[in-house]
């Protein structure tokens, strides 16, 4: 069984609001899955359910465990960064390492120290004395030093400048990801992680609107840049979304053969951000 996360008809409601609405999906081992959705789409609720931080209906299994009822066992094999600001501000870096060494069976202190040696972080510094970027470096370093099967990142780079963001994802790939581990990541800055992902899942109004391997995207989706009569012809292939760029029309098609569109204009594979807009806005239109 290679399915690390398995969700069947998972729902979570807050009163009348269906934050997660009858969602089913699988995440396989060794993948980097991007979970993308507008604010309030249910991403964080879904992540919380996977982390055992909130209960939900339906059947959800993470690493073969029920996340809510077996959270303690689960946490030995999962790491998560909720966002950059959650390391306790009063703790000293060496105290953090001491603590993790005592409570986390899979934490390697020497690995963490090795990673921290590459940064400007002093082991006697308190978290509150570090810049936001350094706190993220610290958090990623300790998490990289935990031999966990699944890493969940919820907006890990929010509020960081571009240099730290690039460095964060660079380190994530170089130090953390080894093809065995699995990463689930949510972010608003889709463009920055696009090349990192092996899988992508769009979520809107609590529903999964797209669940695909990145390699399959070019086959399933195509974007046509055109104008005039060709635009009218393109309409016949029922695009899922259309927009205007510099007076030209851009159509997004799903499941339409590229050969059929050849000659109508410029064809290309939509990037994730455009595809996201197409699926979310097109779906609600």
């Amino acid at each position: 069984m290679t399915s690390l996360v398995s969700a069947r008809n998972v729902s979570k409601s807050f009163g009348a609001l269906h934050a997660v609405d009858d969602v089913s999906f699988d995440i396989e081992k060794g993948r980097i899955m991007g979970l993308i959705g507008p604010n309030g789409a249910g991403k964080t609720t879904l992540l919380k359910a996977m982390l055992g931080l909130t209960d939900c209906q339906g059947s959800l299994s993470v690493l073969g465990l029920d996340p809510f009822r077996q959270r303690r066992e689960l946490m030995q094999n999962i790491c998560f960064i909720a966002d950059v600001a959650v390391l306790p501000r009063w703790i000293r870096v060496d105290q953090l390492l001491d603590f993790l060494e005592s409570v986390h069976p899979r934490f390697s202190r020497s690995r963490a120290e090795e990673l921290l040696a590459k940064t400007d972080i002093n082991s006697k510094s308190k978290v509150r004395q570090l810049s936001k970027g350094m706190v993220t470096q610290l958090h990623l370093s300790i998490i990289t030093a935990i031999d966990a099967k699944l890493l969940v990142l919820d907006e890990p780079t929010i509020g960081l400048d571009i240099i730290f963001r690039k460095e964060f994802y660079g380190n994530l790939l170089n130090d953390y990801f080894d093809g065995e581990r699995t990463i689930i990541i949510t972010t608003h800055q889709v463009e920055e992680i696009e090349n990192l992902l092996t899988d992508v899942m769009f979520i809107n109004h609590g529903k999964v609107v797209l669940d695909a391997k990145m390699d399959d995207i070019p086959e399933r989706y195509v974007e046509l840049l055109t104008s005039g009569d060709n635009a009218a012809k393109a309409q016949q292939f029922s695009p899922i979304y259309e927009r205007e760029v510099f007076g030209k029309k851009v159509f997004t098609f799903e499941g339409v053969d590229r050969d059929q569109l050849t000659g109508l204009g410029e064809l290309r594979t939509p990037d994730i951000a455009d595809l996201f807009v197409a699926k979310v806005k097109g779906g609600s239109a």
């Binding site: 931080l53 946490m75 790491c79 998560f80 306790p88 409570v103 986390h104």
Partner: protein
């Protein structure tokens, strides 16, 4: 489980440095006060006579006087310790939610039960033990200070102070008292932990409100005082000492003091530990504390913090 608990207790000690600093500050103040002579000689005339080297004072009275001095020192710490315990308990599950670090703490393999337990153990045992160690050290400093004073006046410090001070009895009794107090007051500690776990703002106010309002409402609506008496008795009447009120012993003077002096030679003999531990009120309190703590664990576990 035990390894986790030790790590979690260390964590409390790192986070809440007041556990250490509050008694240390009290200790420094006590030593300074002792240096200026206010506590050790200025105010307590009986001690004064003993220390002046008056041989007319019987040995047991001198021992009692020294024990009285030690109690005077300890009682200041007891007050500070209870204030510290209140603030610690109220902050323990609130601070992590306020700075959102709860998301980090919940990402490590420690259960909510283990975490809340570490907070309860800190309030019930760690704070009293740390306070005790610092009290004992303060006793030694204060007595050392008195020693210098006596020595300068040609008194026999061994005879008058070090062989006279009932260290074993006084320290045992102090430790028993420091550990018994949070047990007796445990329903309050449980309540504070629960408030700390659920309140969105101002835990102190939220915790104090029912303690003040319930007796008041009861008085207005039913003209009875069940709540008021329960809270009051719980607050001041710990059934650990027999025959003597634990406050009374500190403040008597004159003949009454002389009578108490004899008794005070052995603080342990004034305590009825068996009676205390078999008092149903104590166990009722511990059950209430357990229920509040369970509620705190439940809230930490089930509340969605988003």
């Amino acid at each position: 489980m035990i390894r986790n608990q030790i790590a979690l207790l260390r964590r409390e000690f790192w986070e809440h440095r007041a556990i250490f600093f509050v008694p240390v500050i009290v200790a420094v103040l006590m030593v300074l006060t002792s240096l200026t002579g206010q506590v050790s000689i200025g105010q307590m005339e009986h001690v004064d006579i003993g220390i002046l080297g008056a041989t007319n004072m019987p040995d047991n009275a001198r021992s009692a006087a020294l024990s009285g001095l030690m109690i005077a020192v300890s009682s200041t710490f007891v007050f500070a310790m209870w204030i510290l315990t209140i603030f610690y308990s109220l902050d323990s599950l609130y601070a992590e939610r306020k700075d959102r670090s709860i998301l980090f703490w919940r990402s490590i393999p420690c259960s909510d039960f283990e975490t809340v337990l570490s907070k309860l153990l800190t309030a019930m045992f760690v704070i009293p033990l740390v306070t005790f160690i610092i009290i004992a050290a303060t006793h030694l400093f204060v007595l050392l200070n008195v020693t210098i004073w006596v020595d300068l006046r040609g008194g026999s410090v061994w005879h008058l102070i070090w062989s006279a001070a009932p260290f074993v009895d006084n320290w045992t009794a102090t430790l028993v008292f420091l550990l018994a107090l949070p047990l007796w007051l445990s329903p309050f500690i449980g309540w504070f932990l629960f408030v700390s776990a659920f309140t969105k703002r101002s835990p102190l106010l939220m915790a104090a409100l029912p303690i003040v309002m319930l007796p008041l409402l009861e008085k207005i609506l039913f003209d009875s005082a069940v709540f008021a008496e329960t809270f009051f008795v719980r607050s001041v009447k710990m059934p650990l000492f027999v025959g003597l009120d634990n406050m009374e012993i500190l403040f008597q003077e004159g003949d009454e003091f002389a009578r108490l002096a004899e008794a005070k030679l052995s603080l342990m003999s004034l305590m009825d530990l068996g009676g205390f531990l078999s008092d149903p009120q104590l166990w009722l309190g511990i059950i209430v504390c357990g229920l509040f703590t369970a509620a705190a664990i439940y809230v930490r576990r089930y509340r969605d913090e988003s």
